[in-house]
């Protein structure tokens, strides 16, 4: 089986599992909705203050949902005694990483769309011309989050205090992605053209390339035992 | 500009103390190990 095909099989398996149970997606969708309430209550009704911090809060929404979604990447294998199946898989184990990453990206795409949609509606954001740029920034940021998240999820799957260790390890590494994404989003929403945030986009793209490359190269070492 | 010697002293003292304590910890643990296994810790 070729690398691409094996990766696809892993991703498709996760999609099927999720389609049957829908547990993760439903819970995440509900979580996104709840975040909206939490942010609104935490930040108060003052519209002025809200518009100022909206890009940051939006990305908080993406990151918090992302932490939940990504942390669960290998829980199915762990809980249902399938971990050995992963270890014994023939060939390059990075195919599993790519497959899991693709599955996570599909999941995050759905969740991010929901979060963005809820934000636009409830916080009355005028997206307008910024939409294509926004989609690009969200996509690049999400790839960055998912690339490292999938790797660290494998690392922490069997560790005690996984729920705490996973975000603790992931968040510092994601600082550049968070900074770039929030600044770019902020500029775009203020009407800045895409060219104006080119440096942030380049940083996000570079980060994505580095993260995925490291993931592919080191995943074998994670899955050895 | 005031000299703020207190701050200067604080910086140097904290550096010395922290590094010193860390060093002392290493020395202590090495001694403890040497005690339990005489002749095995010298590299």
């Amino acid at each position: 089986m070729s690398f691409a095909r094996r990766a696809f099989v892993v991703a498709w398996k996760d999609v099927l599992v999720e389609r049957r149970s829908k547990e993760t997606l439903n819970a995440l969708a509900f979580f996104a909705l709840l975040l909206l309430f939490v942010f609104q209550f935490a930040l108060g009704p003052d519209r002025e203050r809200l518009t100022g911090v909206l890009p940051g809060v939006l990305w908080l929404g993406f990151i918090l949902s992302g932490l939940l979604a990504l942390g669960r990447t290998f829980l199915v294998e762990r809980d249902h005694d399938c971990w050995e199946g992963l270890l014994l898989a023939p060939g390059d184990k990075s195919a599993i990483y790519v497959g899991k990453l693709m599955g996570n990206l599909a999941l995050m795409a759905l969740v991010d769309t929901l979060v963005l949609g809820l934000f636009v509606v409830f916080f009355d954001i005028d997206v307008g011309h910024a939409f294509p740029g926004l989609v690009l920034v969200v996509a690049l940021g999400t790839v960055g989050l998912a690339a490292v998240g999938t790797l660290f999820a494998a690392m922490t799957a069997h560790v005690r205090a996984r729920e705490v260790l996973f975000p603790v390890l992931l968040l510092p590494v994601q600082v550049p992605v968070l900074l770039a994404a929030v600044k770019a989003t902020e500029a775009l929403l203020l009407g800045e053209p895409l060219a104006g945030v080119a440096h942030w986009i380049q940083l996000l793209a570079a980060a994505d390339v580095i993260y995925v490359a490291v993931g592919v190269l080191t995943f074998d070492a994670i899955l050895e035992g | 500009m005031p000299d703020n010697w207190g701050f200067v002293a604080a910086a140097y003292v904290i550096t010395a103390v922290v590094l010193g304590v860390y060093w002392a910890r290493l020395v202590r643990r090495e001694k403890a190990l040497a005690h339990r296994k005489p002749g095995r810790t010298r590299s």
Binding site: V148, L151, F152, M155, V159, R160, A161, L165, V168, L169, P172, V173, V175, P176, L179, A180, K183, H199, W200, L203, A206, A207, I210, Y211, V214, T218, A221, I222, E224, G225 | M1, P2, D3, N4, W5, F7, V8, A10, A11, Y12, I14, T15, V18, L19, Y22, W23, L26, V27, R29, E30, L33, R36, K37, R40, T41, S43
Partner: protein, 217 residues
């Protein structure tokens, strides 16, 4: 004994550095004597980054060859590194209070070092949490590599974050006028702290090896 020699060398170096920081270096015109903290803060920050590079290189070496010695170097460097990083932050903060009026400011340099600190802590936390030693070595190696490759990204993003819409902070730490009376004490201290790092690293590695031998005895 090489380690003992390193120890003596670092003690001498630190002493000379100390004397130069107070005896040779002049009282700085704009900041007053507070500037003397700049003879410990940049050296500590420099070693923090050096230690992290060592963690990264040792991590790669471990993943490629699986020699336990490489893992010990990575682990030891992370531990020594976190001490230096914490001190770098503390001294930077202590310098900042009389200079900028605040204990903490999210300027590019301090923020970068703070993130480095947190990454170190994550590494050591992972070490402590994974029970199996071989697993811990592998996982930490991966984390070390990811974090190290991330640091340039952190640098740029934090720097742009702070400077693109704001003028850079008025007194950049470490920016000296070029007078040799300030440069030499700084260089001597950089060298002294580097030797101290090497000494503490060697001791820590030796301790790790001894502990490993005891565990298998």
């Amino acid at each position: 004994m090489a380690v003992r020699a390193l120890g003596i060398l670092s003690a001498v170096g630190l002493l000379v550095g100390l004397v130069m920081a107070f005896g040779v270096a002049p009282r700085e015109t704009t900041q007053g004597n507070v500037q003397r903290i700049m003879y410990v803060h940049p050296p500590l920050a420099w070693v923090s980054y050096l230690a992290f590079v060592v963690v990264a290189v040792a991590s790669v070496a471990y993943l490629v060859r699986r020699r336990p010695a490489a893992d010990r170097v990575a682990h030891a460097s992370a531990e020594v590194g976190v001490v230096f990083t914490g001190l770098a932050i503390a001294t930077g903060s202590i310098w900042g209070k009389p200079t900028w009026g605040t204990w903490w400011t999210w300027d590019a340099r301090l923020t970068s070092v703070a993130i480095l600190f947190v990454m170190y802590l994550g590494y050591l936390l992972l070490r402590g949490t994974v029970e199996d030693r071989e697993r811990a070595a592998r996982y930490c190696a991966v984390l070390g590599i990811v974090a190290a490759l991330d640091m340039p990204l952190v640098h740029f993003s934090v720097y742009w974050w702070r400077t693109l819409h704001q003028p850079p902070s008025l007194m950049k730490p470490g920016g000296f006028t070029g007078s040799s009376a300030i440069l030499w004490p700084l260089l001597v201290n950089v060298g002294a702290f580097t030797v101290l790092y090497a000494y503490l690293l060697a001791k820590r590695v030796r301790l790790l090896r001894a502990e490993a031998e005891e565990a298998f005895a």
